[in-house]
């Protein structure tokens, strides 16, 4: 049974980590909007426009913006 003298403090450490992660998540607004973040994983950001450099894209958008 002496194993509990190791396991329980270990459990407390893990709980401590869990609590600090939870606090960090709350502080960084992750609980503000529960509908939104679940969808992020569905979108592929890297497949479209392989040939266009992101900088070029930015310029393109700003140009279209100026012409308006």
């Amino acid at each position: 049974m002496s194993i509990i003298y190791v396991l329980i403090p270990l459990a407390i450490v893990i709980v401590g980590i869990a609590v600090s992660i939870f606090f960090w998540a709350v502080r960084s607004n992750q609980f503000d909007d529960l509908d939104r973040q679940g969808y992020s994983i569905l979108f592929d950001d890297d497949i479209k426009h392989k040939d266009v450099d992101t900088n070029e894209q930015k310029e393109k958008i700003n140009k279209t913006d100026e012409t308006k």
Partner: protein, 802 residues
């Protein structure tokens, strides 16, 4: 995952597509048809920016695109004015930061779309979208892109975004909610750990655990419980402290006593072999109590967000004459005696007097009446009203701060502050309850102490824990939260959950007329034609003429959906306040009031034309007449039948006759006509002084003060933002049958609350003698309390069904 837009509907907004393949866009290698140039432009912009995945994953169709895109875009430049920005833009180091309310967010995919679109723009440092609150936070570098540029980017992908007037309390609400969440999370995690250790001891039926292990477990439990007591429970101690300072008693005092005495007792005896520690009870106790507080706080926060999203910053610009030249300025910069030019279709920027020209002015935002008013030189016009026809120059008489709209706003604020306060059932009960509990505890302790019982202290704690009003505290918020969620699904927004409780006490229901009971627009009630065979042709001619007009009457004709393509009008003229005329097929047609046509007593049709709203004449000969009136909404009569238990009345700014007519048709007993916003407010206050509880329904800006003053108020669909902001309940659709639903739900919620309370109190009364007699140990008491709470919550969730 994605939605399927049915064939024949617009792929972007999901509304019926009447234009077939006129506006195609290729999305994900397939051609889809859009319903209008607006949707087409938005869809193409999304595709061009490589954001097609939006269409793959969205769960709701988008809102309809704005066809007059370029026009609205140009107006955005006004947001770059530093004077305007100082109110809502924050300097954050090198960057500027802003919160926007975004209209048109329908599902989570919209959040992604907005973030992607803006993240690509040079100068944007950070974007985060909150789909639930419909807001976006943007940080940007002002040297690289202007605010109007950001708003334009959002507009190209179909979202209307505006800065808003953040509520004063909002920031504190937000941090409060976060701290509740942290406390709740901590208490939850710790409860699990401590309970695990406690369970081992509960089920140690054969005494196999040696004394050393028990002591070890107790020490660990103490370590784990300490943060819960010191941090998570602090909410209750603060509230208890406040109550004692104010010399009142609340639930939190007994909660505080129970938590601290159990904790301290455990702390002292933790080293003893026969230690009586109840750390798991403390944790569970705090956790359950926090859940109910958190639920309550969250509903209030949500309501707060909804109402502050509604106060959008829409700056009004004005054309000011400076040395004979027109210059565009912000309305708030205007001074008294400045001269301002207002063209047709523009919003009148401030209150003033007409010095030149005459115009037809739509004052619906002030009076609630859609019928426009004709104003001549010397007449006063009010800021926020719309100049429909004619060009006028006005001399400013009041600066924006003192303009009529802002006066109404202030009236609303004071009315809101003076709203009758109701002591809610739960608050009243729990106060008495707390006193009784504290008295019983003291008595129990005293009794057992003088009996020389070694358990006197623990028996007293058991009494405190067992009778803890935890279930009582959950009774109301859980029922109200469930009722709110259910109503939300039916398109009814509640800004204040306790409004539901108050709804059950209502004795009087007061309706605004225009826009609430009626559609708030003209429709044709009756048509008379001199020659019956000509009816269709004449209707078509009248419609064609009206199509050119901006007057609200024109809407009545456009609803007829008559084909007017073959009607060629030349020489079209408008006579402000009288009528319109034009040449069609070589004949001169005039359409307007009897005066305009020149009807006198010798006219052969004088009897038929009695009371006609507008008359059509062909080459000076009367050929047709139309009777127009505001139509009563279809379902109003049915809804009113279900309200027979209440005293109903109409409170309107419209004239006596119109109000009477509607009241007669609907069988509403009392009418108050021709009331200004201030008089409306007085009427409601008089009713309240007579001891009546008033439910007010309205939609216009002029209704905002009354809505704020009424015991419970409902803003009907399409209501003005100000009215929505003042109301407690917002109906998202224009139909009134939701009102019956709200009232029914209020009754059900009330019944649930009562059931919950009867259970909570009944349980406590039942368990009190057991606890006082010393049959209950604190852990049993805590377990019983938790089960009682769970039963209450389960009972409330039954409101979500059917």
């Amino acid at each position: 995952m994605a939605i399927n837009v049915s064939k024949g509907d617009c792929f972007h907004c999901g509304l019926p597509n009447l234009e077939d393949d006129k506006y195609p866009v290729t999305i994900l290698h397939k051609t889809h048809n859009m319903c209008c140039p607006g949707c087409q432009a938005v869809a193409s912009a999304i595709v061009e920016n490589g954001l097609e995945s939006y269409y793959e994953f969205r769960t709701e169709p988008a809102t309809k695109g704005d066809s007059a895109l370029d026009n609205t875009m140009n107006k955005l430049a006004v947001y770059d004015e530093p004077e305007l920005q100082e109110e809502f833009v924050f300097e954050n180091g090198k960057h500027k930061q802003i919160q926007l309310t975004v209209e048109g967010i329908t599902c989570a995919a919209c959040g992604w779309l907005i973030e992607k679109q803006l993240a690509k723009v040079v100068g944007v440092k950070q974007v985060s979208v909150n789909v639930g609150a419909r807001r976006a936070m943007i940080a940007w570098n002002d040297k690289e892109i202007k605010l109007s540029g950001l708003l334009k980017q959002l507009k190209t992908i179909g979202y209307e975004s505006l800065p808003f007037q953040a509520d004063k309390h909002e920031a504190s609400f937000q941090s409060e909610q976060k701290s509740y969440l942290k406390k709740l999370g901590l208490a939850g995690l710790m409860t699990m750990q401590v309970m695990m250790l406690a369970m081992a001891q509960y089920f140690d039926l054969f005494g196999d655990i040696d004394a050393e292990s028990t002591r070890y477990f107790n020490w660990i439990s103490l370590v784990l419980t300490t943060p819960v007591v010191l941090y998570s429970g602090s909410v209750f101690y603060l509230s208890a402290l406040k109550a004692t300072m104010a010399r009142t008693i609340n639930m939190d005092i007994s909660v505080t006593v129970a938590i601290f005495s159990t904790y301290i007792a455990g702390f002292i005896t933790v080293n003893q072999v026969d230690a009586e520690v109840y750390f798991e009870s403390i944790c569970m106790f705090v956790f359950f109590l926090l859940i109910s507080r958190y639920l309550e706080q969250r509903t209030r926060h949500k309501a707060n967000q909804i109402s502050s999203n509604m106060l959008k910053h829409i700056p009004v610009t004005a054309y000011k004459w400076i040395n004979g030249e027109l210059t565009s300025v912000l309305a708030k910069q205007l001074q008294v005696n400045d001269l301002v030019l207002v063209k047709a279709g523009e919003i009148i920027p401030v209150d003033g007097e007409i010095t030149e020209g005459h115009a037809t002015i739509d004052e619906s935002m002030l009076t609630g009446e859609f019928e426009s008013v004709d104003k001549q030189q010397g007449a006063y016009v009010y800021g926020g009203t719309i100049n429909q026809l004619g060009v006028i120059t006005i001399k400013v008489t009041k600066t924006l701060k003192y303009a009529m709209v802002n006066q109404i706003l202030r009236l609303q604020e004071t009315a809101m502050a003076n709203k009758p306060k109701v002591a809610l059932l739960a608050d009243r009960l729990s106060r008495h309850f707390s006193i009784i509990v504290l008295a019983f505890t003291a008595f129990t302790y005293g009794f057992w102490y003088f009996q020389d019982s070694p358990h006197a202290f623990w028996i007293a704690i058991s009494v405190l824990v067992a009778t803890c009003p935890c279930a009582l505290g959950l009774a109301t918020p859980s029922a109200l939260t469930c009722a709110m969620a259910k109503l939300n699904k039916g398109g009814i927004l509640l800004k204040r959950a306790d409004a539901l409780e108050q709804l059950t006490d209502i004795s009087d229901i007061v309706f605004d007329k225009t826009g609430t009971l009626t559609y708030g627009e003209f429709s044709i009630q009756k048509v008379w034609v001199a020659d019956g065979s000509q009816k269709d042709a004449l209707l078509s001619i009248a419609t064609a003429l009206e199509m050119r007009s901006e007057h609200p009457i024109a809407k009545a004709f456009s609803k007829l959906e008559i084909d007017i393509k073959h009607q060629c009008i030349s020489n079209f003229k408008v006579s402000i306040g009288n009528g319109i005329s034009g040449n069609i097929n070589g004949h001169v047609y005039q359409l307007g009031s009897a005066n305009f046509i020149g009807i006198n007593n010798e006219n052969p049709f004088i009897n038929e034309l009695n009371d006609a709203s507008i008359i059509l004449a062909k080459d000076d000969c009367v050929v047709a007449a139309f009777w127009l009136a505001d139509k009563i909404k279809n379902d109003v009569a049915d809804v009113l039948k279900t309200l027979s238990g209440y005293e109903t009345s109409i409170l309107s700014g419209d004239n006596e006759k119109n109000v009477r007519d509607v009241a007669l048709k609907l069988g509403i007993g009392k009418t108050y006509a021709q009331r200004t916003p201030l008089q409306k407010l007085d009427t409601i206050k008089t009713l309240q002084h007579q001891g009546k509880k008033v439910l007010m329904l309205g939609d216009g800006i002029n209704d905002a003060p009354v809505l704020a003053a009424a015991d419970v108020s409902v803003a009907v669909g399409n209501a003005s933002d100000l009215a929505k902001n003042a109301a407690d309940v917002i109906l998202l659709n224009a139909q009134l049958d939701s009102l019956a639903l709200v009232l029914r739900m209020a009754k059900r919620a009330r019944r649930k609350i009562k059931q919950n309370m009867v259970w909570a109190i009944g349980y406590n009364v039942l368990v009190l003698p057991l606890a006082m007699a010393g049959f209950l140990t604190p852990w049993m008491a805590a377990l019983g309390m938790s089960i009682s709470s769970i039963i209450v919550v389960y009972n409330s969730t039954r409101l979500l069904r059917d």
